[in-house]
């Protein structure tokens, strides 16, 4: 059972992470790699937070939020994902947590669309918006507060679901603790392919880009071989 102070800290983190995604600063606390690790730190296992956040990060690596594109929101989603991973424990916890995180990131993306529509309502017609300095400030900051509330609600519902996940799930998950991250990292390979496609367009011709990638591949393989 989570202590109320821990739940409070996770909800505050949820509000901050949701704000960082669009409304405030965008210093990338909203990346699941960061929010997952912070959630893990609050819950007493930053390493597991990094693992769950990193797996969610890999699946979302290639998404570009250009021009208000409708994409998933993995930052707040990583928080209940880590709660689920810690509640269930072991490999099944990581798998269930990451799955919940993936689902919550899609829900988070949908909630951002509703939030943006709601912002249009809060701002009102342009003639009213131009009414006064105070009116503009009040409406703009109200939209920011609504975004923080959205993040808090998203994380709160996620935590409720995470702590209710049945322990019997363990019987359906046969992968061990070493194989599970490998399987869950597969969408990262998918995102890596798309990134290579995007980045390779800067090379004139494919030869130099391919040589650079192959050099890196060899260096990475050597590195892991040297590390045993």
């Amino acid at each position: 059972m989570l202590e109320p102070v821990v739940v409070g800290a996770l909800l505050l983190l949820g509000a901050w992470v949701a704000l960082d995604g669009t409304s405030f600063a965008q210093v990338m606390v909203s990346r699941p790699l960061v929010s997952g690790t912070l959630a893990g730190w609050i819950l007493g296992d930053a390493g597991l937070g990094l693992l769950v956040g990193g797996l969610l990060e890999a699946a979302h690596l290639g998404a570009v939020p250009a021009g208000g594109a409708r994409i998933a929101e993995p930052g707040p989603a990583a928080i209940p994902a880590v709660v689920a991973a810690i509640s269930l424990g072991g490999a099944v916890g990581v798998a269930a947590g990451v799955a919940q995180g993936a689902l919550w990131s899609v829900l988070g993306g949908a909630s951002m669309v509703w939030q943006r529509r709601l912002n249009g309502v809060v701002l009102g017609p342009l003639e009213e918006l131009g009414g006064s300095e105070r009116s503009l400030s009040r409406r703009h900051l109200a939209c920011v507060a609504l975004d923080a509330l959205r993040g808090t609600l998203l994380v709160a519902t996620g935590i409720v679901v995470a702590v209710m996940l049945p322990a019997s799930l363990e019987q359906s998950w046969g992968f061990d603790g070493r194989s599970t991250p490998g399987i869950l990292a597969l969408p990262g390979a998918f995102a890596g392919g798309a990134l290579l496609r995007r980045w390779s367009t800067v090379f004139r011709g494919t030869r130099r880009g391919a040589a650079l990638f192959a050099g890196g591949l060899f260096a990475g393989w050597l590195l892991t071989s040297a590390m045993g």
Binding site: P65, H140, P187, F190, A194
Partner: protein, 251 residues
């Protein structure tokens, strides 16, 4: 209010510029709100309500480069430029500030920093080092762009396009992408070397990873939003099939 004070007000307000992002004016209301400190400094007889309505009209740009527009608009407004001219200038800034920022920040800098942080995590760096390193390195460029943008905009006003050209963001995007290809290669090599701990039949895992990589490469940007769905699908399929035991060799 001194220019220095105005500069810092614009930088700080730019952090909240997307606070009221909406499908009608996009960043427009945020730009108007961020420019409110200019309202009292401007010249001209335009009523405040008309000025606010003009500045809150539709606007879109990359959030990190919007401070550059704020600086340039503040310079134009405090210099007493005609409202119609400022409006045309505001409209002209939208496109380039969006595409330049998306190409460099979202397209290259952010994925490069994330990929490097993920690689550090896989190689065993402590969680605090991964997170702090990522936040610090990423935000050195982020905050520099915001601060530099407001300063350049305030200095150059209507001629800010020349400053944007001098900044050479496409060149930086290209250099970052080249570095990204190298780091992506290293990450792929590490994944290959580790086999990510998968027990025999390892070939099955490597085949799935290679196929995912190739599909991602061929599909490019259009498939990227499917990443979380793919992840969910993998986990649910594995749970439904209870597939683990027959894939993992006994200890």
């Amino acid at each position: 209010m001194s220019d220095r004070s105005l500069k810092w007000q614009l930088v700080l307000r730019s952090l909240l510029i997307q606070g009221s992002w909406n499908y009608r004016t996009l960043l427009g209301a945020g730009v108007g709100w961020a420019l409110l400190p200019v309202l009292r400094k401007r010249r001209g007889a335009e009523p405040p309500s008309a000025w606010i309505a003009r500045q809150t009209a539709h606007f879109n740009a990359h959030p990190y480069l919007t401070p550059l527009a704020l600086g340039a608009l503040a310079r134009a407004e405090t210099g007493g430029a005609e409202p119609e001219r400022v409006q045309r200038f505001r409209d002209a800034l939208r496109g380039p500030l969006g595409s330049l920022g998306d190409g460099f920040v979202w397209g290259s800098w952010r994925p490069l920093c994330i990929l490097t942080a993920l690689l550090a995590g896989v190689l065993g760096a402590p969680p605090s080092a991964v997170v702090i390193g990522f936040i610090v390195v990423y935000n050195v460029a982020h905050l520099a762009i915001r601060g530099w943008g407001v300063g350049l905009g305030l200095e150059m006003g209507f001629t800010v396009a020349e400053g944007i050209r001098r900044m050479d963001l496409p060149g930086w995007a290209e250099r970052t992408a080249k570095m990204g290809v190298l780091i992506l290669g290293v990450a792929s090599g590490v994944a290959l070397g580790l086999g990510l701990g998968f027990s025999p039949p390892r070939i099955l895992f490597l085949g799935a990873a290679s196929a995912s990589f190739v599909i991602g490469f061929l599909g490019g940007e259009s498939l990227q939003r499917w990443g979380p769905i793919l992840l969910l699908g993998i986990v649910l399929t594995a749970f439904a099939a209870g597939a683990g035991p027959w894939l993992v060799a006994p200890e």
